[in-house]
């Protein structure tokens, strides 16, 4: 069981969700974050106060999947989030020590497999 973390552009979040749905990856958490990954800074001016904004809005996907689904999840994130410009984001895959479904107490593979699958 792996945890796939994908950090993507907020405007591509819907495309990623759609791609994940097509790949039959069902369990997803997302959060709005700010980050910096080497893209150009944005310059903003408010009444003469000029600032460089080094942090860009991003959306972080956290998806726990069984090993068979890791590649499909990565492909879906890439296909959904890619624009070809700097700032498209990153994907990190980390091993999961345990996963538990609270309702039933199922662990690991059972916990990350969608109900009815």
């Amino acid at each position: 069981v792996k945890l796939v973390i994908g950090i993507v552009r907020p405007e591509k979040a819907n495309d990623v969700l759609e791609a994940l749905y097509r790949a039959e990856v069902r369990g997803v958490s997302i959060s709005r974050i700010e980050g910096h990954g080497g893209e150009l800074d944005r310059v903003e001016t408010y009444r003469g106060t000029t600032v460089k904004v080094g942090l860009a809005d991003k959306v972080r996907f956290e998806i726990a999947v069984s090993d068979d689904f890791v590649q499909a999840t990565i492909d879906a994130l890439c296909n959904g989030a890619r624009t070809g410009e700097v700032g498209d984001g990153k994907i990190f895959v980390v091993p999961l020590e345990r996963a538990v479904r609270i309702r039933t107490g199922e662990t690991d593979h059972g916990a990350v497999t969608p109900v009815g699958a």
């Binding site: 700010e34 910096h36 990954g37 800074d41 944005r42 001016t45 408010y46 460089k52």
Partner: protein, 436 residues
């Protein structure tokens, strides 16, 4: 001898009328920022400022074009289609009243300027979230002169609709149908937002929408109540009808919402206020209070229908200017043809009171106004499109117009923002921001 005396008397400034028109002019000017708030709440948060700024820009551009030639094209003598240059650059616009009015000509000009501003701002609702700001400025300048001023000449100035007796109290033809059908043309030329029909594009702040609608209604008392240019009976009637009609529209809208979705919606209510105000705009000074209430109930039906239908089409007329203004204005103009009463308005009867001819002229206005607005706007935008791109790139549209067009955010947090000192300039390397 008596006639000569009467003419002199008629040409005098009335202080009561003038005092009211000061207030009315300021009320109508406030409607444009109110519209900005209304529109800004309806778009996504990344486009808040750009949407509001289109309304602010309409004030900047339309006041200048109106003072230069717009007012003259609308209100000076010319032919039935368009006025001449007699009042261009405020020539002959002074303290003496315009013929037939009791307020200074200069104040009449200012009041009419606020109408040109709000109408220009209204059209922006069709193209928000993707039209370039620069292209909109050019469009607003040309549109205010070649579309608004022409339609205002037809209905208000010595134009062919006014000369033939079409009744349009506060601008059903130039303001409401003018903006509504222009908005449809603008949406077709500029094209849909890239996410339209693919993603749910939801209003980001319903409270802005409600506050904006409330302020619009407040301002509309100046808009309709001031369109008699005096404090006489027609003005009193229009003022009070501006209270009665939208209330009835609200109730019917509640009912339609409840029937369709089992719930009464807040954004629906804000829309209903606008629809009701628009409906009574042309009819304000011409129909009885009872009929104004009937109009309020009736006007909800076609507008509600068009809003529901439009979202099922590929036409991204984003903020439904056609439904809320075009269709409501159309309904109001036609309504006069049926329900106008000489005993209330001192001008003319409608079909129900024996004058079928009035209905004929109302119907002609209801066809000619939209036809000109749509065609002229379509051609105008196509021409501008030959010279400059009308919309931003897909990439910029995705990032949001606030950052791309204005370099600001509506809801800046300051997190990650590094102050650039004026001496250093923005070009200097800021070590903290470089990739680690």
């Amino acid at each position: 001898m008596m006639d000569a005396l009467n003419l002199v008397a008629a040409a005098q400034v009335d202080t009561g009328d003038t005092a009211w028109m000061f207030a009315a002019t300021a009320l109508v000017l406030m409607m444009t920022p109110a519209l900005g708030l209304f529109y800004a709440g309806l778009v996504r948060s990344k486009n808040t400022l750009n949407t509001f700024m289109m309304c602010v820009a309409a004030i900047a551009v339309a006041v200048v074009t109106w003072a230069a030639v717009g007012y003259s094209f609308a209100f000076s003598d010319g032919n039935g289609f368009i006025g001449g240059f007699d009042n261009a650059f405020l020539n002959d616009v002074g303290f003496a009243p315009r013929d037939g009015s009791t307020i200074p000509h200069l104040l009449f000009f200012a009041f009419q300027a606020t109408f040109c501003i709000i109408t220009t701002a209204l059209v922006s609702g069709a193209v928000v979230e993707r039209m370039r700001f620069g292209a909109f400025l050019v469009f607003a300048a040309l549109w205010s002169v070649f579309v608004y001023a022409v339609l205002a000449h037809w209905a208000f100035g010595p134009g062919w609709l006014l000369d033939n007796g079409t009744l349009d109290f506060a601008g059903g033809v130039p303001v409401e149908m003018g903006s509504g059908f222009s908005a449809l043309a603008a949406a077709l030329v500029v094209g849909a937002r890239k996410d339209y029909g693919r993603q749910a594009l939801l209003p980001h702040n319903a409270v802005y929408v409600l506050v904006g609608a409330g302020l619009l209604w407040f301002g509309w008392f100046g808009f309709n109540g001031g369109s008699g240019f005096n404090t006489g009976n027609n003005s009193v009637l229009a003022f009070t009808n501006t209270l009665l009609t939208p209330a009835c529209t609200l109730l019917v809208w509640f009912l339609l919402d409840a029937l369709r979705g089992r719930r009464v919606t807040a954004i629906g209510a804000a829309t209903a206020i606008v629809v009701g105000c628009v409906g009574i705009t042309p009819a304000g000074g011409y129909v009885s209070p009872g009929y104004a209430m009937l109009l309020g109930a009736l006007v909800a039906l076609p507008c509600y229908g068009v809003i529901v239908y439009r979202t099922r089409t590929r036409v991204d007329e984003t903020l439904d200017v056609l439904a809320a203004h075009g269709i409501a204005g159309f309904t109001g103009i036609l309504f006069i043809g049926f329900f106008a009463q000489l005993s209330w308005n001192g001008a003319s009867d409608g079909l129900l009171y024996g004058d079928a001819g009035q209905l004929g002229w109302q119907a002609l206005a209801a066809l000619a106004g939209p036809a000109y607005a749509f065609t002229a706007t379509y051609v105008l935008l196509r021409l501008i499109g030959l010279v400059m791109p009308l919309r931003t790139t897909e990439h910029e549209e995705a990032l949001g117009m606030d950052i791309i067009q204005h370099g600001e955010e509506a809801y800046a947090t300051g997190e990650g923002a590094i102050l650039v000192t004026p001496e250093a300039g923005v070009e200097e390397e800021v070590p903290v921001a470089s990739a680690g």
